[in-house]
Symmetry: C2
Subunit: 236 residues, 2 copies
DNA sequence: ATGTGATTTGTACTATCGTACAAAAGATCA
DNA sequence: TGATCTTTTGTACGATAGTACAAATCACAT
């Protein structure tokens, strides 16, 4: 019952609701869910605390809406890029294109607004680390399909690698992705200023290069695990 | 002024202080810093909330002590393993040994107690994601030295790869490490039950295999970046 | 056993949290 | 203009946060 019908569709008034969403997204992504109060968000958005309750009912509802806003467009964008990547003929190039289709939307915003982006990916990373319940549910519902699609596509490019290995390596990719967005300054520090962790384009290239090689690594021979040293179970 | 001198050194009384530390470590690693209250910790440790204040003064002090307890032994253990790895003759085997020296202490506890372990690594992952101030300071002080040592060692095994690339790939390794400990269930889910994300030994092997390959990937040719598609800067 | 210092308990204080709700303000159309 | 709906504001409430502190308890050397 929000909008009836003005002369123009979806009028362009300075929307408070959007400002709250943007502020919450930024604050959650930077400091986590629990460290940020509704009052912090309202203040950052130039709004009244009660206004947050009005638009989103609860703090969880606000987080939920952030996810809702992003998930659809982001997965759509990934699907499009994945479909394009699958049409690449050369197997090596195709694998690289698939990885790129997964990584790029996580680092850059899509068309107009809300097509993914670094801030939303960072938010997901933080929520994942905090074990946030709301986030966990949405991720299981929304992201597993996309992840499976990517895993299957990679598996087709590397038929000799067991699916289990592909899953592990995809997992590592996601971890690297998350961590790169959470702590970009560490790259700058460890490289003594030679690399810029905040340079998205460079981060993407580095990640694609490294990840493609990781996927192409020989399979872990599960049948003959005795070959490797049992360094994992040293004492405890 | 805690201990004077009993008949035996470091008596083995059922220490409340240790119980609080253990409970806090577990709770922080699972739920983050801000989501856990001092009362939660005290309850989990079977202690009184006031007892936490007595031993650690503040909640930050408690976190600080957790780090203090682990950092020394963990980095020592890594140094030992790294020194041993550097003595490996074959370059390929040496690289694998170095990576293993970095990964193994993060997944498994050291001798007796407090030598690292999955729980502490997970704690660091969560604190990193939350942008915790206390953790950030300690990490910059304590871990960068160790990280540089590993980066240098890897660089020596791969002299033809620029140091910047090594830094990025180390960064990805740490991200993969963190994420594997934060969300092991996702591996199980995505592999449809075929892989167990909580199996540390298997996780280590997968990680070592993938990471060694990533390090060995050809260098990113910074001089000729025009060759690659500028997919990163699509629209926004 | 007894006194002394270390520890644990119980309780209380203040600040801040998420949320509710009534009143004010703004917008929209007959 | 006045009626009606949406949005914003202001304020308040109960719950819980971190921490302080006095009293009770424990451990142990004398």
């Amino acid at each position: 019952m929000a909008r009836k019908s003005t002369s123009k569709e979806t009028a362009r008034k300075p929307n408070m609701r959007e400002a709250i969403l943007a502020a919450a997204e930024e604050l959650f992504a930077t400091n986590g869910f629990n460290a940020v109060s509704v009052r912090d968000i309202a203040h950052a958005a130039g709004a009244n605390p009660g206004s947050v309750t009005y638009h989103f009912k609860t703090k969880d509802g606000l987080l939920l809406e952030i996810y809702r806003r992003h998930c659809g467009p982001m997965n759509l964008r990934r699907s499009e890029l994945l479909a394009a990547a699958k049409r690449v003929r050369d197997l090596q190039d195709r694998l690289e294109a698939i990885v790129r289709a997964y990584v790029v939307p996580a680092f850059t915003s899509g068309s107009d607004l809300a097509g993914g982006g670094a801030r939303f990916t960072r938010l997901r990373a933080v929520m994942s680390a905090e074990g946030n319940e709301v986030a966990r549910k949405i991720i299981a519902q929304t992201f597993d399909d996309t992840s499976h699609a990517f895993i299957d596509a990679i598996h087709e490019s590397l038929p000799h690698i067991p699916r289990t290995d592909i899953v592990w390596r995809s997992h590592f990719l996601l971890g690297a992705l998350y961590y790169s967005l959470v702590t970009p300054d560490r790259v700058s520090r460890l490289s003594r200023g030679e690399a810029d962790g905040s340079d998205a384009a460079n981060a993407i290239e580095q990640m694609v290069q490294a990840t493609v090689a990781a996927f192409q690594a020989p399979a872990l021979d599960q049948a003959a695990p005795a070959r490797r040293r049992a360094a994992a179970s040293s004492k405890t």
